[in-house]
Amino acid sequence: MAAFRRNRPSNDAGPQGLVLADDWHRPSVRWGLGTAHAVLLVLLVVMGLGPILWLAKSAITPTQDTLATPMSLFPHGIAWGNVSDAWNNIDVQLYLKNTIVVAIGSWLTAIVVATTGAYALSVLRPRFGKVIMAALLTTLFVPPVVLLVPLYIEIVHPPFINQSFTGNYWAIWLPESASAFNLVLMKRFFDNLPREIFEAARIDGCGPFRLFFYIVLPMSRPILGVVSIFAVLASFKDYLWPLLVLGPTDTNLQTLSVRLPEIEQFTPLGYFLAAMFLACIVPIVGFLIFQRGFLRGTGLSGALKG
């Protein structure tokens, strides 16, 4: 009987952790944990969603109201004009377009470098693979920000080429793809693909290129998704490098992150907050659509991060 009562709840309660199904049916545990969860949910809504909701509200509030009473809800009506002014007159549309162009380019280069490199190291196995891998892992020790100065000088005065690359998107796309983190993540995934399939394909006369495009890549959708999300998110979040490369040149090329601190200086608060809200929409919507990929990728990154 006791065994019967033990088993039943654990079957319908699904996965169980700290609090076992048995405890879960004790009122004190249930209420205590229920209260803790309710408090947590309220905190998460206030902390996670609150600032973004405030930004959304203030984006359509007249500047004077936001300055005088930032926490009240539309005391003098709604100013839809903030958003259209930010979009057209402050040119958020242009900077958003630039941001997206930069992100797509960074994504493409990151995927090309990570997939081809990982494929060569994991499947084709060149003779010096171990040496190359060691050289890649060493770069994980060097945080990218400390390379700013030599990289900047390399971009301004590139060796062999007598031309500065400031104000050129390639100066952002190419350096950002030098991510040992993406490569190691990709290589680990390729390492775990079943070798028998590669052997079978080789025996059937499949060359390295067809093996890559028709067998390895289609099998790697999950990791491609994770690396894509990392690359695009990193590009959206990047600030200092685009500032150095695009900052001194003409503003028509700048990304939102580079431009917003400048906009803050010379724009009324209402327009500025509307511009910030517009800038948030793409990453937030992207997150809502690809939530699972974001969370799985972040979980993976605990195991390895540069």
């Binding site: 700290l18 076992l20 200092l240 800038a279 948030c280």
Partner: protein, 318 residues
């Protein structure tokens, strides 16, 4: 003749006996060209934007460079200039204070949140999504948004909220003593979400039979957390701590955009000092000093990276 022929296949292939001479022709036949083609993008990109800049950083720290004249070797004088800069100890102290406070605030909160979220039975996804949401906001936007929150007048967002409970307006980032804690608060908000998700992923790996066994032995909730959950998360706790220290030691965007290093250098961090050396002076950058300080930062962080590498090795083995 015949026994020899029969012997070779038995030994596992001709190559073991007499390796064929490596000629360009055999290299091409063995797929050498395609191997190189696949390796090429990675090798070129890393050589140009990772390996070469690392070497260049070391060289630059020993040189005087002004981008116009050829670089001049100056030995260790860049390092001694940095050491004798009165701003250097201030920057180190501020960075340590930032990292320390971020550890005190930012380290336990995600753990508590993750343990609680992992016990949610319905809509767990909603909890994790809400916790992660601030992470997807680009840091520039997060900082500029919090800058308006931190408005020091009585009509600032946070000061209005303090007014509801009868607390006088605070200067936040405007005061020397409150500036660093304010920066830490924003940075904790912006980064805690990803640590929560890392813990949640690790918590699914905790052996559930241990919980049952602890229950049978009469352990309560707190005892189970202390004796089962935390020991099982040991390695990931070390990893997130090191990742956080490495991340906060490089803090730049917060002090740069919130305060520009002020008030009175109260938020001048090491990265900001490097930036100021190299790009802060419109007359020409002190690239040598910037490289020297960068190199010191790398050396300091390498210690943590080594611990981290050992921890991840033992973790992935389990």
């Amino acid at each position: 003749m015949t026994p020899k022929l029969e012997q070779t296949p038995a030994a596992g292939g001709v190559t073991h006996r007499a390796p064929p001479r490596r000629t360009p022709a055999t290299w091409v036949q063995g797929g050498g060209i395609s191997r190189i083609l696949f390796l090429l993008p990675m090798l070129v990109i890393f050589a140009a934007f990772s390996w070469y800049p690392i070497v260049r950083l070391v060289l630059m720290s020993l040189q005087y460079t002004n981008l116009v004249l050829p670089a001049k070797w100056v030995g260790l004088s860049n390092f001694s200039t940095v050491f004798h800069d009165p701003l250097f100890p201030i920057a180190v102290k501020n960075t340590a204070e930032f990292a320390g406070l971020a550890l005190v605030f930012g380290y336990p909160i995600p753990l508590v949140m993750a343990v609680l979220i992992s016990e949610v039975r319905k809509r767990r996804g909603l909890y994790s999504a809400l916790a992660y949401l601030p992470v997807v906001i680009p840091p520039v936007i997060a900082v500029l948004l919090w800058k308006t929150f931190y408005d020091g007048s009585a009509n600032g967002v946070f000061n209005t909220m303090l007014g509801w409970v009868g607390i006088a307006p605070q200067p936040w980032i405007g005061s020397q003593s409150a500036a660093i804690p304010s920066l830490v608060l924003e940075s904790t908000w912006a980064n805690a979400g990803s640590t929560v998700i890392i813990y949640l992923a690790a918590l699914t790996g905790v052996n559930r039979e241990l919980y049952e066994a602890a229950s049978v032995d009469g352990a309560g909730l707190w005892k189970k957390i202390w004796h089962v959950t935390l020991p099982q998360l040991r390695t990931i706790l070390l990893i997130t701590m090191i990742l956080q220290i490495i991340g906060t030691a490089q803090v730049f965007i917060e002090p740069y955009l919130f305060t520009g290093g002020g008030p009175n250098n109260a938020t001048l961090t090491v990265m900001l000092l490097i930036y100021n050396y190299a790009f802060g002076n419109s007359l020409g950058g002190a690239y040598g000093e910037a490289a020297a300080l960068s190199l010191m930062l790398v050396a300091f962080l390498a210690v943590f990276s080594l611990i981290y590498l050992r921890a991840t090795r033992s973790w992935s083995r389990n």
